[in-house]
């Protein structure tokens, strides 16, 4: 019998180790697996974290575990949380390396990483610093550059409902990067609001088929309600 349910967060994420690369779902923290992220703090260091915005890692207690950040949204959020003053300093001092990637290229790199496509050309960021030092090429009169697929050792994602086979459904805008990252990691670990019986998820609306999922852990949705990351400035 297929059973991907783990009884605790610690068991589900036991093998995240020093030097791991970890993708983390969520958009500005919405739909992020905050409890999985929280548990990662202090367990492993020298991590490469791959997340849309740093809102996805707001539950990280100790930012010194980060070695490298691949993300599309960093600076604007650094002032939001007190702990992040330290992250800002580490970035400024080069202790955390940052690779900034515009969101569309970011998600396409991950999608191709999970789909066996090694590289693609994109027009987004051509003639800006995002295309600097990359191979450029004109397609139909438009400058593009080559972007490479992106994969990770682990993907931490959050789903609304999951079954023991790893089938997942997301809710509203909490979907975002989650289903794409689920495809692109060696081990995909899911924090699910609710575990349902096999057959309860509508087969036409199973956003992530179980084939992409390795481990599922149930976390009461109340615990996922971290404070909103961003105030209008």
């Amino acid at each position: 019998m297929i059973n991907k349910i783990y009884s605790s967060i610690d068991e589900a994420s036991y093998d995240i180790h020093d030097g791991s690369s970890v993708m983390i779902g969520g958009f500005g923290g919405i739909g992020s697996p905050h409890n999985l992220v929280q548990a990662m703090s202090g367990k492993a260091r020298e991590l490469t974290l791959i997340c849309g915005s740093i809102g996805a890692i707001m539950a990280l207690k100790d930012v010194s575990c980060i070695k490298r950040l691949i993300s599309g949204y960093v600076s604007t959020l650094l002032a939001v949380k007190e702990e992040w003053a330290r992250m800002a300093k580490m970035i400024d001092e080069g202790e955390i390396g940052v690779e900034l990637v515009p969101f569309g290229n970011f998600v396409e790199r991950i999608r191709t990483g999970g789909s066996g496509i090694p590289a693609f050309y994109t027009p987004v960021g051509a003639a800006t610093i995002f295309g600097k030092d990359k191979e450029t090429r004109i397609f139909e009169g438009r400058e593009c550059f080559l972007e490479r697929a992106l994969r990770a050792d682990f993907a931490l994602i959050r789903a609304h409902k999951a079954d023991r086979m790893g089938n997942l459904a997301y809710r509203k805008t909490a979907r975002n990067y989650n289903p794409i990252m689920a495809m692109a990691a060696d081990v995909t670990i899911v924090q699910a609001d609710e575990i349902v019986e096999v057959g309860e998820l509508e087969p036409d609306c199973t956003h992530t088929p179980g084939i992409f999922v390795d481990r599922v852990v149930h976390v009461e949705p109340a615990l996922t309600k971290f404070a909103r990351v961003r105030k209008r400035t």
């Binding site: 500005g28 919405i30 599309g72 949204y73 960093v74 600076s75 515009p102 569309g104 995002f130 805008t173």
Partner: protein, 223 residues
């Protein structure tokens, strides 16, 4: 310094008019001020607002106390949605932008040049940045409207001859709506089309770096 002219809400209202005038149906709202916009467009118009966070059919911003934690606009704010709303993953959200399915976008900006170059991903003195979806919008969407304060808090022009900040994309802004004026980017240069109530063309020129072409039909913004 207290900024003159329109508030953010009035700027959004004016941007909403622009969308209605053009008859757009699918309009992206960039992170920041633009996400306030749905409140200022009648729902019967059925403009389907796109959020790069994976939603088509954004409504107005609501109080935090009403918040469904699984739903926000691209700025991370609690919102309502309109009938016909759909949710999708980030891959599809950005395909809608990059693939030019979205007809127009309203974005915030630090600077816009007279040629329509946009700088809105990296603030002054910042080492990293927050490109987010701004480059996808700039590259994929045909009509990009910038909504911005005309000057910095210190009174420095943000509509410039050449962007001093790192650019998002070249020549992508068609329309600029500020607290003081509405301008069109054309091959002839920036055309000053409308001014805020109580503001003169001359006053706008003083805080604008490039020379403005004052439209013969120059009028006051009517909301």
């Amino acid at each position: 310094m207290q900024q003159r002219g329109m508030t953010r809400e009035l700027m959004c209202m004016r941007a909403g008019q622009e969308l209605l005038d053009k008859g757009y149906t699918y309009v992206n709202l960039g992170i920041g001020i633009p996400t306030l916009l749905p409140e200022f467009v009648p729902q019967e118009a059925e403009i389907m607002f796109h959020g790069e966070n994976g939603v088509l059919g954004l409504g107005r911003v609501v109080e935090e106390s009403e918040w469904d934690f699984d739903l926000s606009n691209a700025s991370g704010e609690p919102v309502t949605t309109v009938p016909g709303v759909s949710y999708f993953d980030s891959s599809l959200a950005f395909a809608m932008l990059r693939g030019s399915h979205v007809e127009a976008s309203v974005v915030g900006a630090y600077e816009v040049s007279e040629k329509g170059d946009l700088a809105n991903w990296q603030g002054p003195g910042i080492r990293t940045g927050s490109p987010g979806g701004s480059l996808d919008i700039a590259v994929g969407v045909k009509h990009v409207i910038a909504i911005m304060m005309h000057t910095t808090d210190e009174g420095k022009p943000r509509i410039v001859k050449q962007c001093s900040l790192a650019i998002t994309a070249k020549g992508v802004i068609s329309t600029i709506i500020t607290n003081l004026a509405v301008m069109d980017v054309t091959s002839q240069g920036l055309i000053l089309r409308e001014v805020a109530q109580g503001i003169t063309a001359g006053e706008v020129q003083v805080v604008t770096e490039p020379k403005l072409i004052v439209s013969e039909q120059l009028k006051e913004i009517a909301l």
